[in-house]
Amino acid sequence: MKNIFKYSLTLLIIFYTVSCEDILVEDPPSSISLASFYQSESDALAGLYGAYDLNYSVLGGITGNANNYGELNADNLTISPIVSDQFQWDEFTYNSDITGGLWSSCFSGINRANEVILYTDGIDMTAGIKADIIAEAKALRAFYYFQLVRTMGGVPLYETPTVGFENIYAPRATEDEIYNLITRDLMDASTELEATSTPGRINANIASALLARVYLYKGDYANALTYAKKVIDSGKYNLFPDYADITNPAKKNGIEHIWQLQFLSGERNHNVGRFGPRPIPGPYKNSFWANTVVGGGVAPSAEFVAENPQSYRRSATIADRYEHIDGVSGIITMEQIYSGNFPYYISKFDDREAEMTSGENSTIIRYADILLIAAEAINETSPSDNLKYTWINKVRERARNGVETDLPDLLGLSQDEFRTAVLEERRFELAFEGQRSWDLKRKGKFLQTLRAQGKTVEDYMLLFPIPDAQVKLNINLEQNTGWE
């Protein structure tokens, strides 16, 4: 018996010493884990690109979130009968899960930006490049927070990446706290970054342009003017001579585009269809029109059609007929397709060459917007300064395209008349670019405008709900008033 123990013990000791605990350590051969990432400049850049990638889900190309929140939810658009799943946006019948996608996309973007900001700092690399990458990540973080705060108000504030489960139940911060972070981040970016950048990446001017937009939304006109002027004075931008070029795929990243979401033709932005071309509905499938695609999904509202003054700009924005794509003689009118219910479609984003696989970029902010921000801001801060006419008339001049009777230059308006004029100018110049709803909200005209259209909008609907699922998951999250 003694021997038994002796042998057993010896062998067990051998087992123990030969045991190779190495095999319990995980080092994934085909993935990077945090332990092996953020080691070099190229890692920092890859992390930054990972943060940029959320732009696609936050804005979602031409027809994504940007337009659900900015346009469908306002007065310029209405839903055509082909797409039935978007009625809720237009009719204010959405429930408190509607913001789920925006919430998770923005917070993913914020977390990724926070990783870049935190870990890039520890990388041994060229100081200037390091500072640039961090500043760019801050601008992205600000951009994502701006989407959240104007949609839902104060949201949880994160300035560091999530590393464990401790801090994932943070409560909401105040709106001011969020705006403080946004403006601080964007200011850092506007001072740190270069004036120009590779198309798609943020530079100092983009940061300034975004700041102008943020301050405008907050009603801080002095700062809005300061940053809009910064962009104007940079001398890097101008209007395209032709209004139609702002959505021309051949003029991507052009002189007027300050920041665009980038697409490759045939690859990513193939959901242009909801504004632009889509298969023709109705009884035409066996006819000459069988293979035609034409605008559908959403349509310009009757008010938009009625109130948009005749101009080249208007004709580049909406159309009541569609010329056959092959150039074969033949024109089909919206009247024919929709029996008069939707006499116009949105032609602004048509890409006749690529149709459903259009590689058109989505514009996030462009020079005309900055001119109008500057004009609006100066009207509030020094109403007598005639620079406001210079800026707004530049936009109108391009829009009338040489037809002097259309959209004549403005002059001699009262401060209040100018307020109305600049808002209307924004409405038609930036039509369907995701700005309208925010313009109405910041000017306090949202409820009255939509009620005038016969929509049932409750007062509390100025803010969207916090996603219901998130409120259930995080007991510290308080729902917005009215959405409980």
Partner: protein, 1137 residues
């Protein structure tokens, strides 16, 4: 040859105390090699002929002459045999036996011939009574190594290689005791006979059965845990192509369902219910002591959705000796963090002591589809299409101008006719095995060629198996197992319905019968003529595309046992399971994908997987006095796996010549991908079995597992269990009871784990994003989750109580079990607040409970020449999800499409996992008044002629999430298996019945097949019973809806899937020994078996045994154009030599 001449190659020094038989045994080490090389040598002594003419030669000369002429060698000892004695002999073409009998006729010498060795020993002087004879098994084979003891003495012998024995007994009235493992011991009164031939009956005594228990074996009578066994011979009597199929219904508590009946298709196997939601609930499979990984090793394929064949389909059922199913914690805790789902131990056949045997087995199986769906024909579908057009304000399609009128279309094409076929399966098995006390070997080859019942589907498997056990010395044994096989799966896409889903089966159900298979020029007709190009010609799919997966698997291990001290054995075991597979896909540019032209798609993918094992154990076996028996086990094992994947695809080929063999020839190359995954496990194991007076049995088990898959703070877990059993029948008050032969009560409790999740789940990994910057995609990395250093195994605690009883000396036996199993710390993909930047994280939250009862009843009896053997088992399992993480009310799984976008299967606390979740169908809206009265506006989904669902939240029928509820349960109330075997003379009849009661199926095919006749074909019943106006139908809607193919999933689509199936009827006949007039055939059997010939069910789909998403724990009982079950007839022959 003289044994004292050391130069002789066979020289052996014979210890005078060694019995001659042992000497023979040692020699067989060498014979083994010879016999493997030359099987024919086996019968040498019976065939070799000698010609001798010697006058007054010495015996030594005679021996030399014989050695010269033949392959015989002589062994003897100089001091015992006088080889100088003179003899004379004339032999003309004589057998060795005739010669030797003549030579030793009057001598004091006897001889024994063992193959080619002749051992000469002095004949004993003692004038004891001599008994000789042959021991055979009931099959007629001779049995070597049988112990024969003169009762009441120490005198004994064992049978030789040929089953013959010779024993001297003190008197003619002595009693001989014949015993052999696995056979019933017999006591024979000599009664003066000098020749006694014995037929050993295989032990029907369950108690003597030896069962595998993981890292060892045990007598069934000593078991304290819950273990079911299925013997290889039972599997053989229900022939099937994969062993998992043959196990169905055989063991209580084991629920097996075919996931896909495609050749080589997967199975869902659950032991005592489903424990997990996100981790696997499949049992652990251990083949000959090697715990294998059941990973999917089918490479990726371009645009294909054929289910991958089950990894277990690589094992031929003919190679299996026995299967043990370890069910309770006492039995499975030895497998620690992998034991929670139960363990299936597969012991493959090995060589036995005895003459070399050759077994050959061939069968051909003829299969056809069991059932077809009744679909509309061309005229009916066209009529419905027109009706749909009119209902939607359009002109009829089939108007007699653009298209023919419905009445001119007739029957059209019956696509089911075209894609189903009568399929043949050929199955060949050949094995050669044999052995001596020192060396046992088995060499087996198998080949399976199985056609599926859908055209163009085929599965082939070729296997080669070899194992050898070698005794090196009295204390050292070695063994090697090698199992190599290759499978070729030539698949057709076969699973899943839905919009534009290309599978021959789904297309056969939905492609319009209006179009023919081919046009006049012999080209396939594509479905372009219909209003929407939806479904592709199923024959074109099957015939023009290729999807072939080759898989080579080598499972091999080598072990050595060293008996260090008496009772203490050390075992080292090393093994590897290597899998290499490649998948080739080509879709020619003449084919269409999703009814759209394509330019040619080619892809190749490969997977390589290596799973290695190192294992050291110490086993100590000791009896202390007659009352205490102890077996203790301690050990260490390490196991690791690495899997690598590559995939490459190119589109757009100008020629179809290269198929998948030249991806460079395509003009649209896609990015190639590759990946690799590794994981490992380190373990310490221990087990103690203790029996007191054979009455009180105790088993204690512990395993400490370290698993790489877990978080850095929780790498190691401890899994203990204990079991107690009381053999009441050993107590005095029951001991000599006539009725009750054995009675054992047992109970166990223990904790096991489940670690079957993906590697790296506890780490934050970086995924790749490709945003476009500066006009081209750039690579970005982003973290995919929060690291969870606390991540650990799922923890299952199980309590088991059981009783085993044997009545009337084995005529009846009964086993009953009750268990309650609680799984907590579920490895769940938990939704976390998205503000963290992440949507979910793998955490240990949630709890599932399974409890149940299992009953097994056996009956064995003999009525004259009729033997009747029955076995019935029934299992009741109740599954309940106890809790989910806070904030998660329920998890919904299933296809996301259209209005059923939220899925069909649910995990919600308080209900069984996988309960069906959907709307409650109330009928059809008859009038607009009815709609408005119910609080709805008329239009959209609420129109007369469309389905009406229950309004659960009182807001009218908006069909949102609030209107859904639990509408069915795929978990059966009970499952059962009933086998009946009748043996009469040479005939054996087996009737095997199995079934399931109380489970339901989500019949998803039906949803699409009752809608949109303008797009695709529909069920006949749609044409017959659809709504055409108020009061015409309250079950099937009008052809009207245009809101996408996927309608609301409701209880109308749930069907009772209870079934009772005569799974196998087989009749076999053993040809009489002298049938062929040759004696070298050991046995010959022909058999005829029918599979699935009779099924009783109410289910209206192809077959109630369907489980498409077998890898999901929550989507159960879903029929979504699954490859249907076949019924088949098999004819086979078995030959033994």
């Amino acid at each position: 040859m003289k044994n004292n001449s050391s130069k002789c190659m066979f020289s052996i020094k014979i210890n005078r105390n060694i019995l001659k038989i042992l000497m023979v045994m040692k020699l067989t080490t060498f014979f083994f090699l010879i016999s493997i090389l030359s099987v024919a040598a086996r019968g040498y002594s019976q065939h070799a002929r000698l010609n001798l003419s010697l006058q007054n030669a010495s015996i030594q000369e005679l021996f030399q002459e014989i050695e010269k002429q033949s392959e015989f060698n002589f062994f003897y000892k100089d001091d015992q045999i006088n080889v100088n004695k003179m003899v004379s002999i004339e032999a003309d073409n004589s057998l060795i036996g005739e010669v030797l009998n003549e030579v030793f006729k009057n001598n004091d010498v006897s001889y024994t011939v063992v193959n080619k060795v002749i051992v000469i020993t002095p004949r004993k002087e003692q004038q004891n009574f001599n008994v000789t004879g042959t021991v055979t098994a009931s099959t007629g084979e001779t049995l070597p190594g049988v112990n024969i003891l003169v009762k009441g003495t120490q005198t004994g012998t064992i049978t030789g290689m040929d089953g013959k024995y010779s024993i001297e007994v003190p008197d003619a009235n002595a009693v001989l005791v014949f015993s052999f493992i696995g056979y019933a011991t017999q006591e024979i009164n000599i009664n003066g006979r000098s020749m006694i031939n014995i037929v050993m009956e295989q032990s029907s005594e369950l108690l003597e059965e030896v069962v595998a228990i993981g890292y060892g074996t045990m007598k069934r009578s000593d078991l304290a845990g819950a273990v079911s066994s299925v013997k290889g011979e039972d599997l053989e009597s229900t022939p099937a192509n994969t062993f998992v199929q043959t196990m169905q219904g055989r063991a209580a508590g084991v629920d097996i369902k075919a996931a896909s009946n495609a050749p080589g298709g997967g199975m869902r196997i659950r032991i005592r219910g489903t424990n997990s939601i996100n981790a696997s609930s499949e049992p652990l499979y251990v083949i000959d002591g090697f715990p294998i990984e059941n990973n999917n090793t089918t490479p990726q394929g371009a645009g294909y959705n054929a289910l991958s064949p089950s990894p277990l389909s690589s094992l031929s059922p003919n190679e299996i000796e026995s299967i043990e199913v370890l069910k309770d914690a006492s039995a499975t805790a030895i497998y620690g963090s992998r034991g929670a789902n139960g363990v299936i131990l597969i012991t493959t056949k090995r060589g036995q002591i005895g003459k070399s045997k050759i077994d050959f087995d061939y069968s051909v199986n003829v299969a056809s589809v069991r059932n077809r769906l009744d679909l509309a024909n061309a005229e009916e579908l066209a009529t419905l299409s027109n009706e749909w057009a009119v209902n939607n304000g359009q002109t009829p399609y089939y108007d007699g101008v653009n298209k023919p009128l419905p009445k001119d279309l007739g029957e059209g094409t019956d696509w089911q006719d075209v894609i189903f076929r009568t399929a043949l399966t050929h199955n060949y098995n050949l094995s050669i095995s044999g052995g001596t006390e020192n060396t046992k070997y088995l060499l087996a080859g198998s080949y399976l060629d199985q056609d599926g019942i859908i055209i163009e589907s085929n599965f082939k498997r070729a296997g080669l198996k070899f194992n050898v056990d070698q005794k090196v010395s009295d204390r050292i044994k070695l063994g090697v197992n090698m199992n190599a096989n290759r499978t070729v799966n030539d698949a057709v896409p076969s699973e899943g319905t839905g919009y534009r889903n290309d599978s021959p089966l789904w297309s056969a159900l939905t492609t319009t019968p209006v179009i023919p298979v081919k046009d006049e020029d012999g080209n396939y007709v594509h479905n372009h003529d219909e209003a929407f190009k939806i479904v592709e010609n199923p024959v074109s799919i099957a015939k023009t595309r290729s999807d072939i997966t080759y898989k080579t698997r080598i499972l091999t291990n080598a072990f050595t046992d060293i008996e260090i001290l008496n009772g203490l054995t050390f075992r080292a075991n090393f093994g590897a399971d290597f899998i290499n597979s490649k998948r080739n896909i080509y879709v020619p540019n003449t084919a269409e994908t999703q009814a759209m032209p394509n330019l040619g798609i080619a892809s190749v993918g490969a997977v390589q997987s290596l799973n290695w094992l190192t294992e050291y154990t110490l086993t100590y076996n000791k009896n202390f006095g007659s009352d205490h028996r102890l077996t203790a086990l301690a050990g260490y094992t390490a196991q690791g796996t690495k899997i690598e994947n590559v995939f490459s695809r190119t589109d757009d080929f100008s020629t179809n010549k290269f198929e998948f063999n030249n991806l460079g020839a395509g003009s649209d190359p896609r990015p190639s991908t590759s990946s690799a995954t590794e994981y490992g496990l380190l373990s310490y194991i221990g087990r103690v079995n203790y029996a007191y007076k054979d009455k009180y049995l105790f088993t204690g088990t512990i395993r400490r597992d370290g698993a790489s898959k877990f978080g850095t703070d929780n790498k190691w877990g401890i899994f203990p269990s204990a079991a107690l059993a009381w053999r009441m029948s050993e107590e005095n008050f029951l001991k000599d009871n006539y009725i009750l032969s054995d009675l054992k009560l047992r109970t166990s409790y223990g904790i096991t784990g489940n670690q079957d999740i993906g590697s790296y789940s506890s780490l934050a990994l970086y995924n790749t994003a490709k945003p476009i910057i500066g006009g081209s995609p750039v690579i970005g990395f982003y973290p995919n989750r929060i690291p969870n250093p606390d991540l650990k195994w799922e923890r299952t605690s199980q309590f088991n109580v059981g009783v085993d009883a044997i009545f009337l000396d084995g005529k009846f036996n009964l086993s009953a079990e009750y268990y309650i199993k609680n799984t907590s710390d579920l490895l769940l993909n938990v939704t976390i607040p998205n503000q963290s930047g992440y949507n979910s994280s793998v955490q240990n939250i949630g709890e599932v409970e399974n409890k149940g009862i299992e009953l097994t009843l056996g009956y064995n009896n003999t009525f004259g020449e009729l033997k009747w053997n029955s076995n019935f088992n029934i299992s009741f399992n109740r599954n309940k999800l106890v809790s989910l993480p806070e904030g998660t009310e329920r998890l919904i799984f299933g296809l996301g499409r259209g209005e059923t976008g939220q899925g069909h299967s649910i995990a919600i606390p308080g209900e069984s996992l996988g309960s069906f979740y959907g709307y409650h169908f109330l009928g059809i809206w008859q009038t607009e008044e009815e709609i408005t009265a119910a609080g709805n506006t008329v239009g959209g989904k609420n129109r007369p002629g469309l389905p009406k669902y229950e309004d659960l939240n009182g807001d009218g029928m908006k069909y949102n999430d609030d209107e859904r509820k639990i509408i069915g349960d795929p978990n059966p109330d009970f499952i059962y298996g009933f086998s009946n075997e009748f043996t009469y003379k040479n005939f054996k009849l087996l009737i095997f019945i199995n079934g399931s009661y109380g489970n339901e199926i989500a019949y998803l095919n039906r949803i699409a097949l009752l809608a949109q006749p303008q797009k695709h074909n529909v069920l006949q019943v749609y044409y017959d019973e659809h709504w055409t106006g108020p009061g015409t139908s309250n079950t099937i809607e009008a052809p009207l809806s245009n809101s996408g193919e996927w309608k609301n999933f409701s209880d109308r689509d749930i069907e009772d899937a209870s079934y009772l199936r005569v799974k196998t009827i087989s009749l076999s006949y053993n040809l009489p020994k002298n049938f062929m007039g040759v004696d070298w055939i050991r046995n010959a059997q022909v058999y005829l078996a029918g599979e699935n010939l009779l099924t009783f069910t109410k289910y209206s789909g192809f077959d109630p045994e369907v489980d498409l998403y077998s890898s999901s724990n929550v989507q159960m009982g879903v029929d979504n154009a699954a490859y249907p079950t076949a019924k088949s007839i098999r004819i086979g022959v078995k030959l033994g030599f």
